[in-house]
Amino acid sequence: MKSYLIRRLLLMIPVIFGVSVIIFTLISLAPGDPFAQMIEANPSMSRADYENLLNSIGYYDPIPVKYAKWAKQVFSGSLGYSISQKQPIADMIGRRLKNTLLLSIPALVLSTIIAIPLGVLSATKQYSFLDYILTLLALAGISIPAFFLALLLLKYLAFDLKLFPLQGMETIAAGYTGTRWLHDRLHHLALPLSILTTIQVAGRMRYTRSSMLEIINQDYIRTARAKGLGEKSVIYKHALRNALIPVITVLSISLGSLLSGAILTENVFMWPGMGTLVYQAISNRDYPLVMAGTMLLALSMLIANLLADIAYAFADPRIRYD
């Protein structure tokens, strides 16, 4: 296992390198520059000042030179400063990371808790009315664009019925403390969280169901029945343990999208998370911020994949890495 892990970690290096080169090249190729908006907002700025600004960030360097500079900086342990915000990128990302996780971790946990039992139920009652309804709901869940669902709830529940706040993650400048603060936070969290949860329940329920159906038809389930075991122990001891192996794998992989899986939903609710941060950075051509943000997201994806393989080995005694 140890040598396997080392090998996997080493294999991550070329992948990370490839990702960084591709993203760096692409973002550098994108037309526009970080100061275009500045000059629009401030027409009095002279052409020379503008050029000076561009030169100061090495805008006219060839891409490989720019990349080398960026890589050198990263290896020296600094992510640099955001061009548009003039703040240390590490601090900005730290804050946004927290906000995104505040939304995505509860969604992951809640949806898993709801989805797995429903998936099992749906599979064990295959072809029943309940299975039919659950399957249809799950299909609806993966078919509706999350941001459209978000817009609908925003319009009807938040705006028309005033049940929820319109946007953000807290009432700004209200200065709430204690339970009042907590209540305010949860109130803001409710809509985006329920949307992400709904969407994720749909996918995970379908996955659990099909995994469970596959297992239910296996020979060893017949063996378990032939032993005289009750239906509960056939399903929960013999079938579920096997059916969960792929589910656990998929769950681990989905850890990778914890940071970037809800960009449009974040956008609709103006949730100050990683998704919106990087999206704005791309729009502003804030190169160092784009690089730091996307690399972090890609890295989390890679680590999640590795975690999935490790989890697989733990869940399935047949798998041993060496």
Partner: protein
Amino acid sequence: MSEILRIRDLAIDFNTSEGIVSAVRGVDLKISEGEVLGLVGESGCGKSVTSLAVMGLLPKPEGVLKSGQIIFENKNLTAFREEEWQKIRGNEISMIFQEPMTALNPVLTIGDQLGEVLQVHKGIRLGSKENIDICVENLIKVGIPRPQQVLNEYPHQFSGGMRQRIMIAMALSCDPKLIIADEPTTALDVTIQAQILDLLRELKETMKTSILFITHDLGVIHEMADRVMVMYAGKIVEEGPTKELFANPSHPYTQGLMHSRPGKVKKGDPLYCIPGMVPSGRQQIIGCAFEPRCQYSFRPCKTICPLLEFNEKGHGYACHLSKEGGIANVGKAVNISN
């Protein structure tokens, strides 16, 4: 010898997307205490379905018991509710399956899978010393070395033959009165096959359990069974004591099977095979199911279904030719080389 299992007029249909398939079309069967009954037939003839019906394990909802009774020790199993079945399965009737590679749960230890039978039926807690002791004892009985360690290992660590031994140990756990062995050696290598057959024969001698032995391999049946039933297209076409049946195969189908055995042919000659295919069970069979493939087919075969008729030796077969008196003679006239 008292009777342990009797099946009367069993008929089973499968509802498939291509229509209803009659898998079993009226089977009568009887097994006595300590007897090994061999059930032979080509794949698809309904022998496995019959055995699953005895276990109450017909696939749901496709498999439908259309008619018939399964009487086990004077209890009518066909009237049983699921909970009653559960008390019988693995306890009084247990089953050994064809595919040892897939019949064990890959994520549970051998000890877990062996021990849970005892926990369910005998109330001996899983992981207790008593439970472990019995499991070890059973593993020794089926010839598994270092049984103590084996309990903590997983199925994938064993070969097919070893897994089949473990399945047999599992089947023996509660001293069942009847063991159903559904092609237990088919998936194994020839040498391993012989070992497993030896083991089963030994167990049969020592334990006096009745065995319903299902196979398509006549050689295996010859070695194992006290009595043989030949099944074709969901019906029994011939039945008799093993020696008698092998000496005088009487139904044209049985004769065909006997001739198909490789040992029957001179070196260099082509192997014999029965022309045609097994009927699918989707269409109605009015006359004799074997008629389209039978070289002796004559007028009544197409329209009238022949019944099993027994002689004084307990040997019977279902063929209109029996009334013509010429079976034995006709049988000798089979031209192997054609």
